[in-house]
């Protein structure tokens, strides 16, 4: 070997003596000439594996980012047991040591160890080929030469490569450090000492933690990998010194102030260093690199190794008046821990690929759909939730609920709030109100929550609740309603516009109109093709919908409410899960709403209805035309919604001077409408058109029709309407029930 290269691992052997299969494959490939730009050099035998040495010519541009040579000599060790990633090292003496994606190796290791693969070796083995390996080495070198192995938008290279042991740190680490708070470290339930969790010391942390901690913040550092892991306290001190930290004196100070009790002295030490990282010299720090080292030694031994005290026989400490500065902790061995942070809203959003958002949301209904929608939303870092439900969790709920058996008997709102608050370390994202929302007036906390909300999300599966929220709650919040149809095949979203010009109850009516007009929705509100009595509720425990289907609805619902909330306009959307597991989306046009007051009743209708009558009228000119009106009466709130106008039955009389509504097929049609809408839409009155130039005042005949309507319906206690439709205008004539 010439002077350019370091001696590879092991001793030279004949290529035929190689026994590890992957090494043999590689040698065979290299000698076959199948690949270009790569040449076999020699085979070697190391203590625990076979070594293959080869020369490879990477693709290097004229202008290099890292000094990769036209030819690089590589040695790869394949281990006898094939349990570890083969170790690939570059042999050139001046191979760059400051490029990304080199493995961390002890300081005595002479070669540069290439980190070729991001995945675990066990996964890689499944697709390992010698040719694929050579191509990867070639790619690593070629991209490193161009500085492209580490793309610009990737996060900065960690200062030290993570270890197999993990420490979970609080999100507000830096702030706590600046406030001088103390971290305590406990074992997890697993007790296998793989993952530890650090928390700020609280009032209840009296008992002895596993580790005492020293928390250090250094000066900023330009990012890049340190390839030599400090093995003991003295080496860590040397590494930190250029960053403005005197570790030895900090540790001496920290240990001196710890209590002398047995538990403390028997604890171990964790050193947590926060290193602000910059992309360039003098730039603003972009992130903080965290190193965590733990000692195997106990506090009492560390103090001795730092010259604070000497240990007498039996472990008794003899504290020195002046610390022995010659003792620099060389014998205190350090283990590296990989730090990770508790989840935060921001981090959750980032991992979800969305932006976080904190609208104040009152969610009404923490049932199957509600619990899953809230869960999906908050796991993307979205929403500050007040969860309202007065139901308690029962065993049958577990089939389709976020909660698990431990919450049986607990109010759903309470258990869901607890569960999602547990996701985040530093923020309470949910509160619960166990109350019936229909009694919101009587519940001060609920009343305030609704008043202060930005969104009120009805997931109660109850039209009564959505009407109450729409009409009877004092709040400027936008209302949204999300529910499943009775068969569990369709998910429906009704969302008010940002200015609440189109209310939730109006959207409900426009949705019903789509149900009766759109053939695809004929069975939407039926169950197994059977008509339902009023209500579209799937609360009924006998509803058989599998959780897999509900999970899809919960997924779509969470994303749909966020989209609706971030848009300005009102919307009616429906998603249908097909039997082949595809999902169809139907978006229903939303029309503005007109309101009129008559005799203590409110008449509400939308411009979609008016347009329909205008066009039916225009088709029949110069004749008059008309038909019956379909709608809904809210007897409690005294609201009459006019939703649809049917065309004239075929046996009607249509003349330029009169219209006489026939009845052929009408009854069946109205029956059908009732059946399709779970009886939400019913007959509410009559309409007819006037030709141009005749105004909208009722004629003598019209008066008779109105009287006839009143005569028929007043005894039923039902108000009714007659609409007269002109050219782009209409008049409402009301017949009350009294």
């Amino acid at each position: 070997m010439d002077d350019t290269y370091l001696t590879p691992p092991g001793q030279a052997i004949q290529p035929e003596e190689i026994s590890v299969p992957k090494a043999r494959d590689l040698v065979k490939l290299l000698r076959s000439g199948h690949l270009a730009h790569v040449v076999f050099v020699e085979a070697r035998r190391a203590q625990d594996g076979d070594v293959v040495v080869f020369d490879i010519e990477p693709e290097v541009p004229q202008h290099l980012v890292a000094p990769i040579a036209l030819v690089e000599r590589i040695a790869v060790t394949f281990y006898d047991d094939d349990r570890q990633m083969p170790e690939t090292v570059a042999l050139r003496k001046d191979f760059p040591r400051d490029v990304p994606h080199l493995n961390l190796r002890p300081s005595a290791y002479p070669w540069a160890s290439l980190c070729l693969y991001a995945e675990q070796y066990d996964d890689l083995k499944l697709r390992w080929t010698a040719a694929g390996y050579v191509r990867r080495v070639h790619e690593w070198l070629s991209k490193t030469a161009r500085g492209e192995l580490h793309e610009g938008d990737q996060p900065l290279e960690p200062f030290i490569i993570p270890s197999a042991l993990t420490l979970v740190l609080p999100q507000d680490l830096l702030q706590g450090a600046s406030e001088g708070r103390e971290l305590v470290i406990y074992r997890t339930l697993a007790k296998d000492d793989r993952v530890f969790v650090a928390r700020w010391r609280g009032p209840r942390d009296g008992d002895s933690p596993v580790f005492r901690t020293a928390l250090i913040v250094t000066e900023p550092r330009v990012h890049g990998v340190i390839h030599q892991q400090p093995r003991n306290v003295e080496e860590l001190h040397s590494l930190l010194e250029p960053l403005g930290v005197n570790l030895l004196s900090l540790l001496r100070e920290r240990l001196r102030t710890l209590p002398a009790d047995e538990a403390t002295q028997a604890a171990r030490l964790a050193i947590i260093a926060i290193i602000p990282q910059t992309r360039r010299e003098g730039a603003q720090p972009e992130r903080n690199e965290i190193w965590v080292f733990v000692t195997l030694a106990q506090i009492r031994d560390i103090g001795a190794a730092l010259g604070l005290w000497t240990l007498e026989p039996g472990g008794v400490r003899a504290v020195l008046l002046q610390p022995d500065l010659e003792r620099r902790g060389r014998e205190i061995v350090l283990e590296l821990l990989g730090p990770v942070f508790e989840l935060s809203r921001e981090y959750a959003a980032k991992l979800s690929g969305v932006t976080p958002g904190t609208p104040r949301i009152v969610a009404v209904g923490a049932g199957a759909l509600g619990s899953q929608v809230i869960n999906n939303a908050i796991r993307t870092g979205w929403g500050g939730w007040t969860i309202v439900d007065d139901d308690h969790l029962l065993p049958h709920n577990l089939v389709r609920h976020l909660l698990t058996g431990t919450a049986v008997g607990v109010p759903k709102a309470t258990a869901v709030a607890m569960m999602i608050n547990d996701l985040f370390d530093s923020e309470e994202v949910a509160q619960d109100i166990v109350a019936n929302v229909l009694r919101s007036e009587e519940h001060e906390q609920l009343k305030n929550a609704l008043a202060e909300a930005e969104l009120i999300l009805d997931m109660s599966a109850s039209p009564t609740v959505s009407r109450h929220l729409a009409a009877n709650v004092e709040s400027s919040a936008r209302r949204l309603s999300l529910f499943l149809n009775p068969a569990g095949t369709d998910l429906v979203l009704l969302a008010e516009d940002a200015e609440r010009r189109i209310r939730l109850d109006d959207l409900e009516m426009q949705y019903y109109r789509e149900v009766i007009r759109n053939e695809l929705l004929a069975d939407h509100l039926r169950r197994n093709g059977q008509r339902l009595r009023y209500g579209r509720s799937c609360r009924d425990v006998t509803v058989s919908i599998p959780q897999d289907r509900l999970a899809i609805a919960g997924g779509i619902g969470a994303r749909a409410i966020r989209r609706a909330a971030e848009a300005q306009e009102a919307r009616i959307s429906l998603w249908r899960l097909r039997p082949d597991l595809g999902v169809d989306n139907l978006t229903v046009p939303v029309y503005r709403v007109q309101v009129a007051d008559r005799e203590g009743w409110q008449i509400r209708y939308d411009e979609g209805l008016a347009e329909r009558m205008f066009s039916l009228r225009a088709e029949r000119l110069p004749n008059e035309t008309g038909g019956v009106l379909i709608g809904h009466r809210d007897m409690h709130r005294r609201i009459l919604y006019i939703v649809d106008a049917l065309a004239a039955p075929p046996d009607s009389g249509e003349r330029p001077i009169f219209f006489q509504r026939g009845s052929q097929g009408l009854r069946a049609e109205i029956e059908d409408i009732g059946s399709k809408t779970a009886e939400a839409l019913v007959y509410v009155g009559e309409w007819h058109s006037h030709p141009d130039g005749h105004g909208l005042d009722p004629s003598a005949d019209d008066q008779k029709v109105l009287a006839w309507l009143r005569e028929k319906l007043a005894p039923e206690g039902l108000p009714t309407v007659m609409l007269i439709v002109g050219n782009g205008d209409l008049a409402i004539h009301f017949a009350g029930a009294s």
Binding site: L35, A36, H37, P58, E59, Q62, L70, R135
Partner: protein
């Protein structure tokens, strides 16, 4: 990214330039491979070029440039290209030429035969008709010929590019490349008063722009040290030294010592001073490409000459990290392949494809299968 493709053709030239915007320029065409010789390692040029055209769904080159009309720069052209001047050279599958570039010698020389005649006739046809041609010359040199055709110089001046000028048709902004004509200055006759093709060949300098970075390439055809000396003197006198800087140089005449100096030399051909100066204009990491057979170990009469190769190797070292590459040796003598030089914001890089994988399988038809 732009690409320069040097084809392994023995002592012969063909360079294809693939511009980042899709335009393609072919410098010379010499299909040298003997199809009857299974040991011939030279590439099947027509097949290779067609494969690329098919991939791009094209049937033409934006420019086909003939540096001169010797057969090692033209062989097989009459079978490959679609020529407008005669029906014989037209038909299905022939590759069209948007613009033909030739030195003036190619127009005015008489007595050309074979391929040279076909190309000459095409160039003459296009010049007569006034389209699709660019002649490199001092314009006045063509005046007599044009007059014979009943044409005036002024009516054809826009199709003629003099040495020392930017070549119209390609711009830095639109194409990412600018060509500068160095040669021919004039038409030289040899002792027998016959046009000396080598001495009158086309020499162009290209400045490629990619990723905000300039890469300079010098194409030298088969000129000798004498023409190099003239070019260097004229260019320096006019203060155009930047037009002789290079990151890639297509070294002249298949590594002949005559492109370096008058004496072959014992081990190294010693250069004429201007030649020495030219090779000092190479920038760090510059590539010297010899379109030639492998460099022989022993002395030979025909190029490539080992003494010349030694000079280029010495210069490659002198400019730091330079590379001397021989087309028939790349990547290995036993299996030469197309030498691809990629040009992007990091300058030129020789494409090094490790090979293997499924790409070779899925980029060609599978063999026939079936029971019959």
């Amino acid at each position: 990214m732009h690409k320069l493709n040097f084809f392994p053709l023995g002592n012969a030239d063909c360079i294809r330039i693939d511009l980042a915007n899709g335009r393609q320029i072919l410098f010379d065409y010499a299909a040298m491979r003997n199809p009857d010789d299974p040991h011939d390692r030279r590439i099947d040029l027509a097949a290779e070029l067609r494969r690329d055209l098919e991939e791009r769904n094209r049937d033409y080159y934006d420019v086909a440039a003939y540096t001169h009309l010797d057969s090692d720069h033209t062989k097989g052209s009459s079978k490959f290209f679609f020529f407008d001047h005669a029906k014989k050279y037209q038909g299905e599958g022939r590759v069209k030429i948007e613009e033909l570039w030739v030195p003036a010698a190619a127009i005015i020389e008489d007595g050309a035969d074979d391929e040279a005649r076909v190309i000459r006739d095409e160039a003459r046809h296009r010049l007569r008709e006034g389209y699709g041609v660019r002649v490199f010359s001092r314009p006045e040199r063509l005046e007599a010929w044009l007059k014979e055709q009943g044409l005036t110089l002024d009516s054809r001046r826009h199709l003629i590019t003099d040495a020392g000028r930017i070549v119209p048709g390609f711009t830095r902004d639109r194409d990412g490349v600018e060509f500068f004509a160095h040669w021919p200055l004039a038409v030289r006759m040899n002792e027998c008063e016959v046009v000396d093709r080598n001495a009158n060949g086309l020499v162009l300098h290209a400045t490629f722009v990619a990723g905000g970075h300039e890469t300079k390439v010098l194409f030298t055809a088969d000129i000798t040290w004498k023409e190099i000396a003239d070019i260097v003197r004229v260019t320096r006198r006019k203060g155009n030294e930047a037009r002789l800087e290079w990151d890639v140089i297509d070294i002249p005449h298949h590594c002949s010592y005559l492109a370096i100096g008058p004496e072959k030399g014992e081990d190294v051909t010693e250069p004429a001073p201007e030649v020495q100066w030219l090779y000092e204009q190479g920038r760090v990491g510059g590539k010297l490409v010899s379109a030639s057979d492998p460099i022989p170990a022993k002395d030979t009469d025909q190029p490539p000459h080992r003494q010349a190769a030694n000079f280029y190797r010495r210069q490659a070292k002198a400019i730091i990290a330079g590379e001397f590459i021989v087309t028939m040796e790349y990547p290995k003598v036993s299996a030469p392949a197309v030498l691809v030089i990629k040009i992007d914001g990091r300058g030129p890089a020789i494409e090094k494809v490790i090979g293997g994988g499924i790409a070779p399988i899925v980029s060609q038809p599978a063999p026939r299968a079936g029971v019959a």
